[in-house]
């Protein structure tokens, strides 16, 4: 009976795509310069290049699927794609739902406000509007440490929309990944009045232990394959080449 139902359902679903075979579907959120962004309509960036290098190692073809950040994990669990290679930090909360490979980079987060602003810690931001990316580790930090001292935390669907509103003057600052905010905002003309404030935020409770590749639970074979591939490209210089294309220092971190 079940087999018959299965046969009918599979026939009826002929119009939809099946996720099997040699292609590896990789989810990216291309609004996160310089890790994942678009140039001339094509996805590019550190994450994308690393993904392509890893796919070459494990001999599968990378097919990139765009996805909004706040439904990255639900999309993975709904099997829309196989892995997430989009600067997703490895945190305990996320590990309850999905699995991660070893990290492929680790950079801290920082608070960013106007140069003229005197930042002395979370409490000094009281009453100010800080923008963060929905469902990100920075949002968790902001809700945990900043909202509790009276900061107005506003969540956005994409990090570049945060920059849009900072530029418009609706926000006083943001909490973002150090490298991302430098490449995506501070190095551009609109970011000239802003700078990184305070210390590097490495708090594991919020920020986890670096960015890894997200996969569904129970896929240990793929997980080990990818972790091994990361080790390989670290060792044979491919990682360094990609790293130097975007950054002046080694983002692999501690």
């Amino acid at each position: 009976m079940k087999k018959l139902l299965l046969a009918i359902t599979l026939c009826a679903l002929g119009a939809t795509a099946f996720a099997q075979g040699k292609d590896l579907k990789v989810a990216i959120d291309p609004t996160y310069e310089p890790f994942t962004y678009k140039v001339d309509g094509k996805p590019t960036g550190f994450d994308v290049d690393i993904a392509n290098a890893l796919c070459e190692q494990i001999k599968r073809k990378c097919v990139f699927v765009e996805q909004g950040w706040d439904s990255m994990i639900p999309g993975l669990m709904a099997r829309k794609y196989d892995v997430i290679i989009s600067s997703m930090s490895i945190t305990e909360d996320r590990m309850k739902q999905i699995d991660f490979t070893d990290k492929y980079y680790n950079t801290p987060s920082r608070v960013v406000t106007k140069k003229a602003f005197n930042y002395t810690g979370p409490a000094s931001l009281k009453g100010k509007k800080i923008g963060v990316l929905k469902a990100s580790t920075q949002e968790k930090y902001a809700l945990g440490e900043l909202k509790t001292v009276g900061v107005d935390v506003v969540s956005y669907e994409a990090q570049d929309q945060v920059y849009l509103d900072i530029r418009a003057g609706r926000l006083d600052g943001t909490v973002a990944d150090h490298v991302e905010v430098t490449g995506g905002f501070l190095s551009k003309p609109e970011g000239k009045d802003f700078e990184l404030k305070g210390d590097e935020l490495f708090i594991p409770k919020y920020f986890g232990a670096g960015a890894g590749i997200g996969l569904r639970k129970g896929q240990d074979a793929l997980k080990n394959e990818l972790s091994a591939a990361i080790k390989t490209i670290r060792g044979n210089g491919v990682y360094k080449k990609i790293n130097d294309k975007y950054f002046k220092f080694d983002v692999y971190g501690k």
Binding site: D70, P74, S155, Y156, Q161, A168, G169
Partner: protein, 237 residues
């Protein structure tokens, strides 16, 4: 299916905030939109041709473009303009454009004004010619004819179509979730979905809330029709 999560205190509070925001947005935009619609409808059926064209072009654009794009244009688009950025910290009307709630309200109000204006203008045009002639025979001025004869009839005739528009507006407020920091019912459901990964439960709850609200609104309008359009009802004796 894990519906129990929805009934935890903080999630109920989230939905509560959502309902409050939705209803506030709905009624505020309807009131502002209705006032604008009345003015626009009078201009659409008035004697001044350039104004007729202007308002006609306005309703054409409003009815020809999606509400989502209108919301984005007002929230993000206007925020980009240097002219507005220079003024919205200090000069009075422009200070409101910083506020997401105001931007959403403006977009919804302009939208409903466009649709309602056309409805009302159509109803005004359908006024029985004999009624207007009789009023003029009585010596009423144009303003008096409008106020005493045309408008009461036109407003009554618009009621069924307007009830549709109000329900459409209720549904349109779900687009407020596209504006950051506005928490309406849809945004509350989305937030629960991304926290607990329960899409069915969260969105079913939102759908149920909207369904109940729609029924209440339709019921209210049926009562209104019974009162205001009583003269159209079938004979009872």
């Amino acid at each position: 299916m894990n519906f129990a999560v929805l009934f935890e205190a903080q999630n109920l509070a989230l939905f509560g905030t959502g309902i409050l925001t939705t209803l506030t947005l709905l009624f505020a935009s309807l009131v502002v939109g209705a006032v604008m619609a009345l003015v626009f409808a009078l201009l659409l059926t008035g004697p001044w041709t350039p104004l007729r064209w202007l308002v006609g072009a306005y309703t054409y654009v409003i009815r020809g473009t999606p509400l989502l794009i209108q919301v984005y244009l007002i929230y993000y688009g206007l925020g980009q303009l240097e002219w507005i950025q220079a003024r919205w910290d200090s000069v009075w009307p422009w200070t409101h454009f910083k506020d997401p709630f105001f931007c959403a309200l403006l977009a919804f109000a302009l939208n409903t004004a466009g649709y309602t204006a056309e409805m009302l203008a159509g109803a005004i045009r359908e006024t029985n010619a004999g009624e207007i002639e009789a009023a003029q025979a009585y010596g009423m001025s144009r303003f008096q004819v409008m106020l005493r004869i045309v408008l009461p009839g036109a407003l009554r005739r618009t009621l069924p179509a307007y009830s549709n528009e109000v329900v459409m507006m209720l549904h349109a407020t779900s687009l407020a979730s596209a504006v950051p920091s506005l928490v309406d019912v849809t945004a509350a459901a989305s937030s629960i979905y991304s926290q607990y990964y329960l899409p069915f439960e969260a969105y079913l709850a939102a759908a149920a809330i909207y369904l109940v609200a729609s029924f209440c609104l339709i019921g209210l309008f049926k009562l209104g029709e019974r009162h205001f359009l009583a003269y159209l009802a079938p004979r009872k004796h």
